[in-house]
């Protein structure tokens, strides 16, 4: 795996965190917003080697936990599990934007459900939130739509060999 892939993934993760905590956290008229960091973790996990993919998920999760009010390690746990599923069960060579969007949506759904369950286990009360179902449904849809735009760009930057596939 090229160091460029790791570097691009780390930069995209940083950018995702900054956007998540600035742009998206200010779009308050939308009660539920995309989880762009989870989106980056899912996309990067498809191109990174297995261990770096999991480490990226862990790092991104810890960073978000530290910048928010969730217990340190909660998002890290969710992102690691989602990255593992992405590594194990998605096809690296998949380049169809629609398929990528569906994969991202499915894995985001997994992430949202895991977050709700673990959040409840660790006293966040996520499952008792009124918006829990809307969050679980809308976050994957938002992430899937964003994936159509982000996946090709990220793939171009991270995996230069695949340019002809896009």
């Amino acid at each position: 795996m090229a160091p460029r892939t790791i570097l691009v993934s780390l930069i995209m993760m940083g950018l995702g965190i900054v956007l998540q905590t600035t742009l998206f956290s200010r779009l308050e008229q939308f009660a539920i917003i995309p989880d762009v960091v989870l989106l980056v973790v899912i996309l990067a996990a498809r191109w990174l080697d297995p261990d770096p993919a999991l480490l990226l998920g862990f790092t991104a999760g810890i960073a978000l936990d530290l910048l928010g009010t969730t217990p340190m390690g909660l998002r890290a746990l969710v992102f690691v599990l989602v990255a593992y599923v992405a590594v194990r069960y998605t096809d690296r060579t998949e380049s169809n934007p629609l398929n990528s969007a569906l994969i991202v949506a499915a894995l985001s759904l997994l992430g949202a459900v895991l977050f709700a369950v673990f959040g409840t286990l660790f006293s966040l009360g996520s499952l008792s939130e009124v918006n829990v179902l809307r969050t679980i449904i809308l976050v994957p849809i938002y992430n899937g739509v964003l994936a159509v735009l982000v996946a090709p760009v990220m793939r171009q930057l991270a995996v230069p060999r695949s340019r002809t596939l896009i």
């Binding site: 900054v18 956007l19 998540q20 905590t21 600035t22 742009l23 956290s25 200010r26 779009l27 308050e28 008229q29 917003i33 995309p34 989880d35 297995p50 261990d51 993919a53 999991l54 480490l55 862990f58 999760g61 810890i62 978000l64 530290l66 910048l67 928010g68 009010t69 969730t70 217990p71 340190m72 390690g73 909660l74 890290a76 746990l77 690691v80 599990l81 593992y84 590594v87 194990r88 998605t90 096809d91 690296r92 060579t93 949202a112 977050f115 709700a116 959040g119 660790f122 006293s123 966040l124 009360g125 996520s126 008792s128 939130e129 009124v130 918006n131 829990v132 969050t135 060999r161 695949s162």
Partner: protein
């Protein structure tokens, strides 16, 4: 399944186990340390590192958000667009900038009035935002260096309770809003009954629980803090009753209660630096109230 090198991808089982265990250990450690110690140092460090980047990003992001806000309020924009069409672009931009500064000044003046007239020392803080999914909390840019401690009540410019400080760091603090599902605020009805208002994660709805209600609660009644909760002074407006609530025996349990403070668009807040040992708070007299300015409506509640 298939890698771009043609072979199956190795299952990172060992890494998965290590990272999952590490996550559980960190979560347990963080929750048990209750926002202090190494966990607090890490949070403080992360927020200190991220703050300049977030500030920089906001200078780019704010115009984008304004555009999206505008698109979301298209009906209002149409009327404003007709008025603005007569003006040239430069004048319009200058006018909007001046208006923004004027609004900020007005808002900050309200906070200054509020802090000057409050019985307790207080500090005005800027809202930095939260992380979104399943996290109703947000971060403010003031912390222990400004005298803020965990449990301090957080108000908006109209003197309405917005939330409670959860974790505090030297230059920042996290706020759990009243709508958060883990937040419970002890309240007093106008009839003198004590209850608890709990967040549901819904910006428009709260849950009210009164075990020993002496009578019905009328529609429109404002529920205020009861002065029996540690660190929270009495008399702060928390919620509004949306329909007449009739006790079942002596029990009132209802979600027909809305928060009085508007949480969307919150840019500044004021933190009341109430000591938990202050004799004027946490009294056994639930009707004890703090001296706070009367509620203003300028700038929205």
């Amino acid at each position: 399944m298939i890698s771009d090198r043609g072979g199956p991808r190795r299952a990172p089982n060992i890494s998965l186990i290590i990272l999952v265990v590490a996550s559980f250990v960190l979560m347990t450690f963080d929750i048990r340390s209750q926002g202090e110690g190494v966990a607090a140092t890490l949070r403080s460090g992360a927020q200190s590192i991220a703050a300049p980047l977030q500030d920089l990003a906001r200078t780019v992001v704010d115009p984008v958000v304004d555009i999206i806000d505008g698109a979301a309020n298209l009906a209002g924009l149409r009327a404003e667009n007709e008025r603005l069409r007569a003006e040239n672009e430069e004048l319009r931009a200058a006018q909007e900038e001046i208006e923004k500064i004027r609004q900020d000044n007005l808002l900050l003046q309200q906070f200054l009035d509020l802090t000057d007239r409050s019985e307790f020392p207080s500090v005005v803080a800027e809202v930095r935002g939260g992380t979104g999914t399943f996290d109703t909390g947000f971060v403010i840019n003031k912390g222990t260096e400004q005298g803020i401690v965990a449990g301090n009540p957080v108000l908006n410019q109209a003197n309405l309770l917005v939330g409670i400080i959860k974790d505090v760091f030297p230059q920042s603090a996290t706020v759990i809003p009243v709508i958060g599902p883990t937040t419970g605020v002890e309240i007093l009805t106008e009839g003198g009954d004590i209850g608890v208002v709990t967040g549901l994660g819904d910006p428009d709805r709260l849950e009210l629980l009164i075990l020993e209600a002496s009578g019905p609660i009328e529609q429109g009644e404002i529920l205020r803090t009861s002065a029996t909760q540690r660190g929270i002074p009495g008399g702060l407006q928390v919620a509004r009753v949306e329909q007449r609530l009739i006790p079942d025996g002596t029990l009132i349990e209802s979600q027909e209660v809305t928060p009085v403070a508007e949480l969307t668009g919150l840019r500044f807040v004021v933190v009341l630096q109430v000591s938990a040992d202050d004799p004027s708070v946490s009294t056994t007299d639930p009707t004890s109230t703090t001296t706070l300015p009367t509620t203003t409506t300028v700038g929205g509640g």
